[in-house]
């Protein structure tokens, strides 16, 4: 109940920024639609940066949400709420995550509509049709990949901001240092057998299925047919689960920082 109240508060507090975000997306969607319909179908490529910018969505959202508490002097009220730091920070994080989900879904819808419409405008429809089919088959992989990557940038922003509020003057720098250091350690860990053991389960996509999507489309293309295809996995659900668990782990640390170190 209280967590829900905190979550609703976060949505309300960031409502203006989110509405601007959505209106901006809709305007851009209409603009791209007009550009592709009236001028050139290649204007559809403008949607790529629109999708990629969601990579830093959580970073901006979390930084802004925390900054607002201190800027508007509500941090003293927020930090005086007798709920664990975990509850306070997960309410913020979940609200930002909800907004990311809506914004990213809307962007994917815009891209899908534009892809469907622009096919008709290309002289040769084979390539655009191929792209549309690939999008229909694999959009959810791109969506979840971006979503999780954005969560990771969000947790980095949260950690650095809270470090800045825990250790005066140089906390932010120490936070950045810890992020770089732990990222390097994590990269090294990814090369180990232990990492493979905990992540390589639940095949989401294997090489054969991926290459088949090419073969089906470019049927009769001899060069493509000669490629030696294995059944090796390309993507595992385990990787996504571990990435999300790491985000949850850092959120837990952030909750601890709020309870023990952060100053109003």
């Amino acid at each position: 109940m209280s967590w829900l109240a905190l979550y609703m508060k976060e949505l309300r507090q960031t409502k203006t920024r989110f509405l601007i975000n959505i209106v901006f997306l809709i305007i851009l969607g209409i603009l791209f639609f007009v550009l592709t319909e009236r001028y050139n179908a290649f204007f559809i490529t403008l949607t790529v940066p629109l999708i990629l910018v969601h990579f830093v969505y959580m970073l901006v959202a979390m930084f802004d949400s925390l900054r607002l508490e201190w800027k508007q002097n509500t941090a003293v009220f927020w930090l005086n709420i007798p709920k664990s730091g975990w509850q306070l920070i997960t309410a913020k994080f979940s609200a930002a995550m909800t907004q990311l989900f809506i914004s990213l879904s809307l962007t994917f819808m815009i891209l899908y509509i534009l892809l469907q419409r622009t096919i008709l405008h290309f002289p040769d429809t084979q390539v655009p049709l191929f792209i549309l089919e690939q999008f229909q088959s694999f959009w959810w992989i791109l969506f979840s990949g971006l979503f999780i990557a954005s969560l990771q940038t969000g947790i980095v922003a949260t950690f650095i901001y809270l470090m800045a509020k825990s250790i005066r003057k140089w906390g932010w720098l120490l936070g950045i240092g810890i992020v770089f250091g732990s990222s390097w350690i994590w990269m090294k860990f990814q090369e180990t057998a232990v990492y493979r053991a905990i992540t390589e389960w639940g095949v989401v996509l294997n090489e054969e299925a991926f290459m088949n999507s090419f073969f089906v489309h470019f049927d009769g293309n001899e060069a493509m047919m000669d490629v030696d295809v294995t059944t090796d996995a390309i993507l595992y659900a385990g990787t996504a689960v571990v990435d999300i668990l790491v985000v949850a782990g850092v959120l837990f640390i952030c909750g601890w920082l709020i309870d023990k170190k952060v100053e109003a």
């Binding site: 003293v76 007798p82 309870d259």
Partner: protein
């Protein structure tokens, strides 16, 4: 020995190279209203935030309500900041509803009763209220928490005499003296002196006087203001 609600043991607080509190030790008995008096920049806000777990001491030990202080002392301590700290996008009614949900100790009925007595419009957004009404709502929220320790940082600061009078009346009426201790900071002691049971005088980050107001009057024949003048001279 009296039951102590606050115990500071050699507490110091530095902001970078600036020392805000210097090796401060004192105890505050539970119950009643305690005035934390001192000039601007004397360290009053730092002391109060340390008690509420909103700042960390650089050294020393702070025990409040029998617990070593961290932010989670908020279960037992309600903190009212000098600045406007309520969410300005909520209406007064929504602020009370939100407080009811997030503070397990919140007395919703009492909050409505106080706000109603002060004739603050429930459907107005906090951000659109006058400064005086924002202060009234802020204090109504703090007073509606059933916690052993209420901390108010300069609740009268920058307000006109009518609002100050309202606030003093609210404090006198709604603080539950049997179960609650109120620590109130101010640099203008005269107005709240009749309410005070105990006074702490802070100067340049040090406690220079800690005395029961009754003792000041009976043993020294002084008012709080007189004692302040004597100590600060």
């Amino acid at each position: 020995m009296e039951n102590m609600i606050i115990n500071f043991d050699r507490v110091s607080k530095r902001y970078g190279l600036t020392s805000a509190l210097k090796n401060v030790s004192f105890q505050i008995p539970s119950g009643g209203i305690i005035g934390l008096v001192g000039s601007n920049g004397s360290g009053k806000s730092t002391l109060l935030k340390l008690m509420a777990g909103l700042l960390k001491g650089s050294s020393g030990e702070i025990v409040v309500c029998g617990e070593a202080v961290n932010r989670l002392i908020a279960k037992k301590v309600a903190f009212l900041a000098e600045v406007d700290s309520l969410y300005d996008f909520y209406t007064v009614k929504e602020t009370i509803t939100f407080s009811t949900k997030v503070f397990p100790d919140f007395d919703e009925q009492k909050a409505y009763q106080i706000v109603d007595a002060l004739e603050v419009e429930l459907h107005k957004k906090i951000g659109t209220l006058s400064k005086g009404n924002r202060a009234r709502v802020k204090i109504a929220i703090a007073l509606s928490r059933n916690v052993p320790l209420l901390i108010m940082d300069e609740p009268l600061s920058g307000l006109d005499p009518l609002v100050r009078e309202d606030i003093i009346k609210m404090i006198a009426k709604y603080v539950e003296m049997e179960n609650q201790t109120l620590i109130i900071s101010t640099h203008e002691v005269t107005e709240i002196e009749p309410l005070l049971d105990h006074v702490l005088l802070v100067q340049s980050g040090e406690i220079v006087l800690s005395e029961r107001v009754e003792d000041l009057r009976e043993k020294r024949g002084q008012s709080v203001l007189d004692a302040m003048k004597e100590v600060l001279r």
